[in-house]
Symmetry: C2
Subunit: 443 residues, 2 copies
Amino acid sequence: MVRPAPVAPLLALAFLLTACGVTRPTPAPTTTALGPVERILANGVRVVVQEFRASEVVALQLWVRAGGRDEAASELGLAHYLEHMLFKGTTTRPRGFVERDVEAAGGRINAGTSLDFTYYHVVLPAARARDAIEMLADVAVNSSLDPRELELEKKVVLEEMRLGEDSPRRRLVRQLYERLFDGHPYGRPVLGTPELVRGLARETLRSFYRRHYVPEAFTLVVVGPVTPGEVLAAAEGTLGRLPRGGVSRLPAPPPPPLVPVRLDTERPGSQAHLALGWLAPRLDSAETPVVDLLAAILGQSRSARLVQALREREPVVSSISAGYSALEAAGVVTVTAQLEPANLGRAEAGILAEIGRLRSAGVTPEELRRAVTAAEARHAFSLETAEGRAFGYGRAETIWRLEEELAYIDRVRSVTAEQVRQAARRYLDPERYVRLAFVPRPR
Amino acid sequence: MVRPAPVAPLLALAFLLTACGVTRPTPAPTTTALGPVERILANGVRVVVQEFRASEVVALQLWVRAGGRDEAASELGLAHYLEHMLFKGTTTRPRGFVERDVEAAGGRINAGTSLDFTYYHVVLPAARARDAIEMLADVAVNSSLDPRELELEKKVVLEEMRLGEDSPRRRLVRQLYERLFDGHPYGRPVLGTPELVRGLARETLRSFYRRHYVPEAFTLVVVGPVTPGEVLAAAEGTLGRLPRGGVSRLPAPPPPPLVPVRLDTERPGSQAHLALGWLAPRLDSAETPVVDLLAAILGQSRSARLVQALREREPVVSSISAGYSALEAAGVVTVTAQLEPANLGRAEAGILAEIGRLRSAGVTPEELRRAVTAAEARHAFSLETAEGRAFGYGRAETIWRLEEELAYIDRVRSVTAEQVRQAARRYLDPERYVRLAFVPRPR
């Protein structure tokens, strides 16, 4: 429940949640049902624009085909470090431009780095869309990588690492990736290591920037009350003028075969954490919608198999969930649980028993229907805001295909119960998986 | 920056952030520029509907004209406690209906209680709008207030109180309200007191429910891809059938004149907290847009007066901000800061000096423009989602007027620099205010 303080932030904010715009019919009513427009500029920059007139807010995102997996072993953490530095000033924008320019216009700016990509996103009132495109083009290639800022930022990144380490679940999942992708770029930490971050030199970062931040690696996504022609012209006049980099990204190699691992690690705390992992289809597989539903039926709601069997009917765990992450070169199905240390064996056996039942008897029509409904709902929520739409388009255009993204929920709807059972048989081998546990350190 | 873990929640979620719907042009393109439709049913229930086709998500909110200020001194916390209990089952919906019905449909449900109102809100795929209206009508009058659930919920509410107490800023602002509204209902805690919560009897709660949850107190707001006629019919067939309560709510009395207070309270911690408060216009005043801009210029951005003077130019405080809360019967302007205890005197003097300058020399056109831009941006963000729109309409219809809400941002745009100066002179008396401070307890 929302906290009901007399001056809760919600209320303070809400005072300006007014709605006058909607009472004035626009001269030429526009529909929000138009699809995105896609264009590749002469130098290789991709542009995706969607006119979306739900509000006056425009979302602008610059996606870069460079992430953790593009780093050499000596470069771990560079993609992420660069993401931080791009907010620290360019040759024409001094340090502090985020607060000065973006926040002064009422906007917000943020960024994220993953194994497959890095992206920068801005949301602000539509009148400022052109300025934001210019700013994104500027940070994309003109970041000054100021040596003093670079040193100062080390503290921030090291702190981010410590926070990640403090979360048992995050740490456990990262270790699961290390084991599932042993020797593969997906097995490496996106944040790098404290040693590499402490010793990071400007020249190293600059070289990574020059190599990976090139027109062929960029996708600009703009969603909001904009005219596609104007956005395309602005993109041409900014990102479109950059000289080609002339290098293309190496495809990520397929993952090595899974090597089963069982490992207990001691950690402070009173609860144990358990994680099981399997390799699963990569993002562009025809089976991603099937495995999505499989993971949902296993453990993504209160009525899911594992939740019912191991928490509701007989409380072996205090929480349990299943997930499917589809990356460009491989996917991962995980089951994670939090539990009393004494229940580790029973929990693992219970998880495998449920998976065995799924593999032999399959799923019920009712289970499948619920999972499709949940997927439709998440889909609908993701389309509510300009930012949510832009994220889906940008990610698809960067590491997948926009048309696949647009057709995805229809694929989900057409999945059959038998396909789910077959996917469980194909991917969830009850004899070959990685199993990691954190167990409380005896005091 | 977004945390870039390989399986960050953002990515896991994002996999279903697909966007197929937008590629199929709807047969009859609809515009989002239509205003809300307002209707009062025969028994007094108000209904506000807006067809808003930005996505497939519908927001449904039940607003109730009952909040902290409607409680007698012996009833403190009842409005909030009732808000919690309404999710615990009705005569036809067993405990757990939230997870079972709402989450199974892919929806979310929540609620909030303030001094002036309580509201319940649901967002879910539009196909389930009718079910949600039925559910809201059911919880509105048929809550079973199960004695066992009531006892169990005491722990939850007491924990919520403890959390509020742990936040120095929340606690300080609550104490500011106690002093500004001494003897007035706005001076009382919405959560009640631990003693009253521990001793709460079902009959007391039930009596409050019967008295305040009546048709005349309800507003149903529905925003999303719905047909207003169908929503109105569903409202007629559910909420519209309830018998009138026949009692109308007492208007909140005007606040007593401000009695200046200066108070230091010891608290654990190393930093000090300072809060200054003044009485300001109530929500329906013609001056609310002016005072909104005044507060923004004083302390709601990096370029604001107090932030520049007391943090950027000369670091007297580690953070400082100003705010304006407009309630139904009165408003409050607050300035809060976090600082080294040794700087308390300098900070207060600095705040008063800036207020003095505002009162004598007024604001610059540039400051006013920036504040209007920020207000426009917040306004635009609030209209992005069905939920944001519904909140604005519901609040306006409950404690203000919908047409004022719809005109509000235009009012903000027409404010002059001289009006802001006059408001500073009228409301921010540098000799009459409440000043509270938390100072670290000596160890």
